[in-house]
């Protein structure tokens, strides 16, 4: 077990090295951070001096190792466009992203558990058939379609019809007012939830069906357990295992936020920050976000693998 974890950790570090090398190279080649100085107000000597001060005159591999040696110590440097420490910039956005994503994830897990279990228990009922069809459609919907449709109906049309409507954007609002926070959260959370719920429900339904047909479930029923105990305590425990892994692997992406949802609802989160700063060639910010996300993905992968052996003794790591 210890050797396994050690080996996975070394592999993880190797993977992170590949990610940072490639994405640093790509980001630096993709856009010139000096582009913002070409407004004609700056002489060419000043340009050269700024370039030198920012270290942009050195070869990209040298820049990479300088960046890496600071980044591993937690120093992500200064944003090139905002002249603010990157860590500060990210800490401003991280809480907003987490509020959105944790709420969405809670809604997703509760809804998919309820729908998945119910539709497996009532297999081939009207509810199950409708839900299976809907989840196939929901799974195929692009998020911008859902986000724009919800926004159009509940924000734009409701306002026009004189009904209580929901806000479209979240750019200017305060965290302190809970009711305001909730009204701003409804639409983005719903947009994020629909696709995921559709996917997870399908998954849980089929794994529940598989478990429910096994012998130990029949034994549980035969010894006179009430149906609820059979479903929740015996079946769900085993059926939820693969879903837990799936959520564990999807969860780190939440850190990065959802670029499209945050853009549509102008939610000031990390995803939108990434999109904006990538467009401006702000490589310190872009690299910091990438490194955080990639580290989270790698760590969660290892944790999920380990957790799996704990909850399911049939699996041996080697």
């Amino acid at each position: 077990m210890t050797t396994y974890i050690l080996r996975r950790l070394i592999q993880g570090i190797f993977i992170l090295m590949i990610i940072t090398t490639v994405s640093f190279g790509l980001t630096r080649m993709a856009s010139d951070p000096m582009a913002q100085y070409t407004l004609g107000r700056i002489s060419s000597e000043d340009r050269a001096r700024i370039r030198k001060n920012l270290g942009l005159d050195q070869p990209i591999p040298v820049q990479y190792f300088k960046w890496l040696s600071l980044a591993v110590r937690g120093d992500f440097g200064y944003s090139i466009t905002n002249r603010q420490p990157v860590s500060e910039l990210i800490m401003q956005r991280l809480p907003q992203t987490l509020v959105l994503m944790v709420t969405a994830e809670v809604v997703i897990i509760i809804l998919s558990a309820l729908l998945g279990i119910y539709s497996a228990v009532k297999q081939y009922s009207l509810f199950d058939n409708v839900l299976t069809g809907l989840s196939f459609v929901g799974f195929s919907l692009p998020i911008f379609f859902i986000a724009l449709t919800l926004m159009f109906i509940f924000a734009v049309q409701f306002k026009e019809w004189g009904l209580p409507y929901l806000p479209t954007g979240a750019d200017v609002w305060k965290f302190t007012d809970l009711s305001e926070l909730v009204t701003h959260l409804i639409l983005p959370v719903a947009s994020l939830a629909i696709i995921q719920v559709a996917g997870y429900t399908r998954y849980l339904r089929s794994s529940m069906l598989e478990v429910l047909s096994q012998d130990y479930i029949r034994t549980a029923r035969a010894k006179g357990l009430i149906e609820r105990a059979v479903v929740v305590r015996h079946a769900l425990r085993n059926a939820a295992l693969p879903l837990v892994t799936l959520i564990g692997l999807d969860a780190p992406a939440l850190l990065a936020g959802a670029i499209v949802t945050e853009t549509v609802y102008s939610w000031p989160g990390m995803g939108r920050l990434f999109w904006q700063q990538a467009g401006r060639g702000d490589y310190p910010t872009v690299m910091a976000i990438l490194l955080i996300v990639a580290t989270a993905v790698v760590v969660f992968q290892i944790l999920t693998d380990i957790a799996y052996t704990v909850v399911d003794p049939r699996i041996r790591l080697s």
Binding site: Q11, F14, I15, L16, I18, I19, V22, S23, L26, T27, M29, A30, S31, F136, V137, F139, S140, L141, P142, F144, F145, L148, T149, M151, F152, V156, E160, T168, A253, A256, I259, V260, T263, V264, F274, W275, A278, G279, V286, I289, L290, V293, A294, V297, V298, Q301
Partner: protein, 320 residues
């Protein structure tokens, strides 16, 4: 004579099941086709895709591309009406015509980027699976690295990398924005990873089989074993992954174009038809995102149906 034929008739309606059992056995391809035909949603999906293709192709006989790019500022943001079925956009271009031409671009991007992803995925997965050892270790770590970044992030970085200055190009007498090529490259380069894993896993199990050992004993070269024996035998999961990949490629195109990093106007694509819709939605403009989205959603849905059907049909363990 008629009496004779009447008395013979009952003998002609013999047990069809027995007859089928006696008939020549069907080839795996025929069996797969039969399973596919029984998959109702797959048939609906294929028909839907065919109708979509016919609409997109024949549409260009009714509307010229020039018309689809024609700005008519006096008529901007017109709601759907008989002279503009789907309304007009913010510069007065007819959305119905743009959906026809945008569909051609979106499908070209989808198919080409899947082809690129297939090339990369099969090559990388094939090499990793066949040579194992350090080749496998390096290629698979590289694949995992690519999988560890959410794909939209990769799409944005790559879109920026290639998208800075794009000349227009001419093909088949039509002018395209060069960004079409950029989007194909970007999507192809970010979607080969699952394919590589599938191909690798399949080849790992196939290469231990006796017929591969026999080929080796006969002195067949490694390349030939890989290309002629191993990859063709893993074609079923490749076809399924490619079909589902087409749906993903069309979504990815829509995402990057929606975020303004994809296909650049005046060339239309289903994604970039919507790129201004967020700011216009407040003004009650619903046709600019609803129609392109519907076409995207239907295409993805049909493609996923077909993919699902193919998965069932190509799995030899399933009985007809």
């Amino acid at each position: 004579m008629s009496q004779v034929s009447d008395s013979i008739k009952p003998h002609l309606t013999f047990d069809t099941a027995a007859a089928e059992a006696l008939a020549a056995p069907l080839s795996p391809g025929q069996l797969a086709w039969r399973r596919f035909k029984r998959h109702r949603m797959a048939v609906v999906g294929s028909l839907g895709l065919i109708v979509m293709m016919i609409f997109i192709i024949t549409g260009s006989f009714f509307y010229t591309e020039k018309y689809s790019n024609f700005n008519d500022p006096a008529n901007r943001l017109a709601a759907p009406a008989p002279d503009h079925y789907f309304g007009t956009d913010s510069t007065g271009r007819d959305l119905f015509a743009r959906i026809i031409y945008g569909g051609q671009i979106s499908l070209i991007i989808g198919v080409s980027s899947v082809a690129l992803a297939l090339l990369l995925g099969i090559t990388i997965g094939g090499l990793a699976g066949y040579y194992s050892g350090w080749v496998d270790a390096i290629l698979m770590r590289f694949t995992e690295a690519a999988l560890s970044i959410p794909s939209l992030f990769l799409l944005i970085i790559l879109g920026k990398l290639f998208g800075s200055e794009i000349p227009t190009m001419k093909l088949l007498g039509r002018t395209f924005s060069g960004s079409v090529i950029v989007v194909i490259l970007v999507i192809g380069l970010t979607s080969w990873m699952y394919l590589a894993r599938i191909v690798r896993a399949n080849i790992l199990s196939l290469r231990e089989m006796d017929y591969i050992a026999a080929s080796r004993a006969l002195g067949v070269s490694n390349l030939r074993i890989l290309v002629q024996h191993l990859i063709p035998n893993t074609i079923a999961p490749i076809i399924v992954a490619a079909t589902l990949g087409l749906a993903n490629a069309i979504i990815s195109e829509a995402y990057v174009s929606f975020l303004g990093l994809g296909v650049q106007p005046p060339t239309a694509s289903w994604g970039n038809l919507m790129d201004q819709s967020i700011s216009l939605i407040q003004r009650g403009v619903w046709w600019m995102w609803l129609f392109p989205s519907l076409f995207i959603v239907l295409t993805i849905l049909f493609t996923n149906f077909v993919g699902d059907g193919l998965r069932d049909a190509l799995d030899p363990r399933r009985k007809v």
